[in-house]
């Protein structure tokens, strides 16, 4: 068993990065996630593992430092919160278009604009549909506990390198600021130069030895036929992710007549809500998408053929609900998909969710 600690989600992100052999972090302070960089700076991993940590002059610079650092084939990450991720979106598009692996963490706060510093899930569209320009996808992981904040750092890097694609941990201020018991992973050494050359030598900017072609990291291609071919290659990669990587958790879905779909913080609230509803005799389950992209479409489609309806519960005006509706539609068993959400930094309460369930499905 690994070391047990009581830690904030944000602190765990930093600790997990050091322990999984991350090579570098570049970031810019923004509430509610500044503890990530603060923890790293206090831990001084450059003394311990050689990990580089740098406070950039802006989110724009930070993501472009990530773009440069990721091109070297090393494991690098940044973290920010909603307005900062908007600033980074151009860079994220370049990283996706250049097929570079890296980890981007969004500890969401309420928007739009400067919004609030309280937790929100209103960046779902930005994370799973694009945010930056062009046809690209991020691998998006949604932790629902401090333990998963720990576990998903390593998982995100694994997936990012498997697909040479940026991965995002989409969390929010609640999980970032909350403390829970966490079992920390054991230390994994950073890759040696030989390991890096073996894994990434065919594309990374390691310096061109005599006899190999130059490695050029770019998203630019003036010949649109070639650019179309590049895009098709990306799309094949995304289809493979959709086939192999969807992850979810189903709670009490086996006998359920209704299923709540929720991720991250709102899924925790809904877990309590289904307990309360079941105590009242309502047969309700919870489907918690762990990967938001690729979305667990098949699991939703299968459920739709044996339940009476879905309730999407989000800390937004209703974004994931579109993916649930698409999944139901593609599955062919059309059932109602309803929505309940709180906006602007408010977390729904379990009681409100139960009420929404009753109002949508059990009245009349």
């Amino acid at each position: 068993m690994g070391e047990l600690r009581l830690m904030k989600g944000n602190e765990v992100l930093a600790e997990a990065a050091i322990r999984c052999g991350c090579d570098g972090y570049f970031g810019y302070p923004i509430t509610p996630q500044s503890e990530v960089m603060e923890t790293l700076m206090a831990r001084q991993p450059w003394e311990e593992t050689g990990m580089v940590v740098l406070q950039a002059e802006s989110e724009v610079a930070a993501i472009n430092m990530i773009y440069g650092a990721a091109a070297t084939g090393k494991k690098v990450m940044t973290s920010s919160s909603s307005p900062g991720i908007s600033l980074m979106s151009e860079g994220i598009s370049y990283i996706a278009g250049s097929e570079l692996p890296c980890l981007i963490i969004n500890v969401q706060r309420g928007g739009p604009g400067l919004g609030t510093i309280q937790p929100s899930q209103a960046d779902y569209f930005q994370a799973v549909k694009g945010g930056g320009h062009g046809d690209y996808k991020l691998i998006v992981l949604a932790p629902s506990s401090v333990q998963e904040m720990n576990d998903f750092v390593d998982l995100a890097f694994e997936l990012a390198f498997k697909y040479r694609n940026p991965a995002m941990i989409l969390t929010d201020g609640a999980i970032g600021q909350m403390m829970e018991k966490v079992e920390l992973a054991d230390f994994k050494p950073r890759w040696t130069n030989d390991e890096l050359i073996e894994k990434c030598g065919s594309w990374a900017t390691t310096g061109k030895p005599a006899g190999r072609k130059p490695n050029i990291i770019t998203s630019l291609e003036m010949d649109s036929a070639k650019m179309e071919a590049n895009n098709k290659r990306f799309q094949e990669k995304y289809r493979k992710m959709e086939e192999e990587e969807p992850r979810y958790e189903a709670l009490m879905c086996d006998d359920a007549e209704y299923v709540i779909v929720a991720f991250g913080t709102s899924s925790r609230v809904c877990q309590k809500a289904i307990e309360l509803a079941r105590a009242k005799g309502v047969k309700v389950g919870l489907l918690r998408p762990i990967t938001l992209y690729p979305f667990p479409k098949k699991a939703i489609a299968e459920l739709s053929c044996r339940i009476k309806g879905f309730l999407s519960v989000e800390m937004s005006a209703g974004q994931m609900i579109e993916d649930i509706k698409l999944s139901v539609f593609e599955g062919g068993c059309i059932v109602p998909v309803k929505f309940f959400g709180r906006l602007g930094g408010i977390i729904p309460s379990p009681g409100e969710v139960v009420k929404a369930l009753e109002e949508n499905f059990l009245k009349g």
């Binding site: 002059e57 610079a61 430092m65 773009y67 091109a71 860079g91 061109k208 050029i216 990291i217």
Partner: protein
Amino acid sequence: MDIKDIIKPENLVYKKSELLIDTIMHYCPGCSHGVVHKILSEVIDEMGIQEKTIGIAPVGCAVFAYNYIDIDWQEAAHGRAPAVATGVVRLNPDNIVFAYQGDGDLASIGTAEIIHACNRGENIVVIFINNGIYGMTGGQMAPTTLVGQVTSTTPAGRNVDLNGYPMKITELIAQLPGTSYVTRQSVQTAAAVRKCKRSIKKAFQNVIDKKGTSFVEVVSTCNAGWKMTPVGANKWMEENMFPFYPLGDMKDSDKKEVSNN
């Protein structure tokens, strides 16, 4: 005497650097970029640092620089080359990283990145091509466009009331303690090319010696954007650009020791 009798190794007086890739450049005839590329190839070749050098290409006319010099490259977003170079050199401090940028890239959209990279003393070379105009997008006003200079967005000439003043960014950079070598050069004559090459070589040597940021501005021509002949553009540059952007070293501090690591 046949031509074959002349093409012999012992008669060779000039040979292109092996690092300059044998391809047709997209630059307009008369453009300064090609000359600076040639200098860079020669310097990297002569210093024997091909295996360690990473180039960061800008957005602008030099966006395809990576097609011309036989090293590993990365193409940056507009203005962000110094941040990208920071990412590379922080992770691999023994690599020799240079950012190659134009005036729109460096002095307009990328002002924050260049100022902060230089202020941190990132151990990189910055090559700054200043031709006072946006070449690639069709000759619009740049931050370095001279007062009264006609461009496609200042058809009546740059008017300071409307457009502000031309920016001497290199003078600004020289104030920053993170920089060890800041110079302004040109490449319009053989003598200027030789002098510019010495500057670029010194900048690379500084990076090898981990002295922080070395910054080389090259006052350049854009005869296509300026709507002049190549010869006319050189003359216009000497008469108009050099008085405002005087050539020479602004800073050469061999005393400063910088370590980022």
